[in-house]
């Protein structure tokens, strides 16, 4: 675990030493802000002050941003050959993958933390359901973690960042809304299966303000499977 942190810290340093981290944060804030503004123009008119519009928008912003964060992490190490440098040091494949995961989760958490002023603004406009807001953020973080695991797996499949980006989007889009569509258009056990797989459903249920263990287990399972597949792919040394 300590090794994973050394790997993660290097990634975070690289992001913050270059402009990349700031660009990610600013772009994330700009996109979320603009679309929240457009989609929720009535926020001042609505009697109720809440962040439901923001949470709906952030779900999509993260959907596009996370593959951009993760695409480089393994693909570039493979392309440049540095993966050989790291993995022949006293680091396991698992530490390596976990380090990349932790770094990305922290990066997204920092970006999300930067939206707190927005929360504060809304809170000044009227009474906010603090519990729902908290669970909304928890939902975003869990969703992000799941997409990061998927993004890392995509990054481990290729040594081309663009390919990794597109692959991550392709896999994530099933979780983002295709499973939901399938669930609506099938019946019986198949519908229930797609319903269970849909990140959208689980996210919505958390964003409504209840953190159910079922949803928690769902996101943690996606992370686990994604990371396990990544570790397996890295272990193949292709």
């Amino acid at each position: 675990m300590n090794k994973a942190w050394i790997i993660a810290r290097r990634e975070l340093d690289a992001w913050f030493d270059s402009l990349v981290a700031y660009i990610i944060i600013v772009a994330f804030l700009a996109f979320s802000g603009i679309f929240t503004w457009i989609a929720g123009a009535d926020i001042f008119l609505r009697q109720q002050a809440d962040l439901s519009v923001f949470f709906g928008v952030a779900r999509w912003t993260l959907f596009f941003f996370i593959p951009a964060i993760t695409m480089r992490l393994i693909a570039e190490e493979k392309r440049a050959g540095t993966i050989e440098l790291v993995l022949t040091k006293n680091v396991t494949d698992r530490d390596f993958v976990l380090g990349k995961f932790v770094a990305s989760v922290l990066m997204v958490a920092i970006a999300l933390a930067c939206t707190l002023p927005y929360y504060a603004t809304v809170a000044m406009l009227g009474p906010v359901d603090h519990g729902a807001t908290l669970s909304g953020y928890v939902g975003l973080l869990l969703l992000s973690a799941a997409y990061i695991a998927i993004g890392l797996f995509a990054s481990s499949l290729s040594n081309n960042q663009i390919v990794a980006f597109l692959l991550a989007l392709f896999i994530s889009i099933f979780f983002q809304f295709l499973f939901d569509v399938f669930a609506d258009n099938t019946g019986g056990w198949l519908s229930r299966l797609f319903d269970m797989l849909s990140a959208m459903r689980h996210y919505d249920s958390i964003a409504r303000g209840v953190i159910d263990s079922k949803d928690l287990i769902y996101f943690l399972s996606v992370c686990f499977v994604g990371l396990a597949l990544t570790e397996w792919q890295v272990g193949k040394r292709e």
């Binding site: 050394i6 340093d13 690289a14 270059s18 050989e84 440098l85 022949t88």
Partner: protein, 307 residues
């Protein structure tokens, strides 16, 4: 710690990159790994460092298999193309390597200073790795391999890109390290092997074709002793005839008649030095030169690897 390699085989598709290789290297020994392009040197080194797994066979370091990765901390490895993180600066990179390799926190500054000194990085130590010249990057590669003072060093073409001064320094450094540690280095520079290594291993198409000190390889390659002699106060034709008549001599070749230079090849397992000397004494010839002809390493290499 010694390295023991047992029946290593690794295929890429139908091609065997490494084909049943076995050898051992002891501490205090520097092994030069030679072979033409694509012979399987890099593949073998990647297996030793546990980066890739062999199809069969095993690698033991200090008697323990490298398979589970627990021996990686005792290995310092310079990969073939010297991959480094271009966006990191030299000192940060070396610190990170030291941390990853479990160098105790309090020793890290000393180790970095030591590596900067021995690898001649002082002038460039605050630059980003991506801004360094090739030779300096190579030095950083060597520094990262040695930062944790490993028992075993695996260096894949360590001196490529270095300037002549640095080559001499790095060779000296490797020789010094080689007194206590176990070193395997690959190279295409044959004089380098003679200058640095105690032992040479030549592989071709994944198989070991020669293993020994430079001297033993020469003896094996040559089979028969060849002496180059020069006589004064002797008639060349007469000398050739007389030498040919010696029981230990297989063939005689008059290289140059005016200077009376003669090449004498002995019969297998025989030497002719004494007999020639006695002959000259008897005939009153002056033996001004008598040197054993050394097969050049280049020739040995070519013989073993061209087919």
């Amino acid at each position: 710690m010694d390295i023991e390699i047992r029946h290593l085989t690794k295929s890429y598709g139908p091609q065997k990159a490494v084909d049943d290789i076995s050898f051992a290297v002891r501490p205090g020994e520097i092994l030069g790994f030679l072979g033409p392009n694509g012979a399987g040197k890099t593949t073998t080194m990647k297996i030793i460092t546990n980066y890739i797994q062999p199809d069969s066979g095993e690698v033991l370091i200090g008697g323990r298999s490298v398979h589970d990765g627990s021996m990686k901390r005792y290995i310092g490895y310079l990969p073939e193309h010297n991959p480094l993180y271009p966006e990191m600066n030299v000192i940060d990179f070396l610190r990170w390597c030291a941390e990853v390799q479990d160098v105790p926190r309090e020793h890290i500054p000393d180790r970095i200073r030591e590596m900067v000194r021995v690898c001649g990085l002082d002038r460039e130590k605050h630059k980003k790795i991506g801004e360094l010249s090739k030779g300096y990057r190579q030095r950083v590669g060597l520094a990262q391999a040695m930062i944790h003072d490993p028992e075993v060093l695996i260096l894949d073409e360590p001196t490529t890109g270095l300037d002549p001064n640095q080559i001499v320094e790095i060779r000296e450094l490797i020789r010094k390290l080689g007194r206590e540690k176990t070193v395997i280095l690959s190279t295409h520079i044959l004089p380098e092997v003679e200058a640095t290594c105690d032992r040479i291993l030549i592989i071709n198409r994944g198989r070991i074709v020669a293993d020994g000190t430079p001297e033993t390889l020469r003896r094996q390659a040559q089979g028969q002793q060849v002496l180059r002699i020069r006589l004064e106060e002797a008639d060349p034709d007469e000398a050739v005839k007389a030498i040919m008549a010696l029981p230990s001599v297989a063939s005689v070749d008059l290289v140059q008649a005016e200077a009376c230079r003669i090449e004498v090849q002995s019969k297998p397992e025989a030497t002719s030095n004494r007999a020639i000397f006695e002959l000259c004494k008897e005939r009153g010839w002056v033996l001004v030169e008598m040197v054993p002809f050394e097969t050049r390493l280049e020739d040995i290499f070519r013989n073993l690897t061209m087919n």
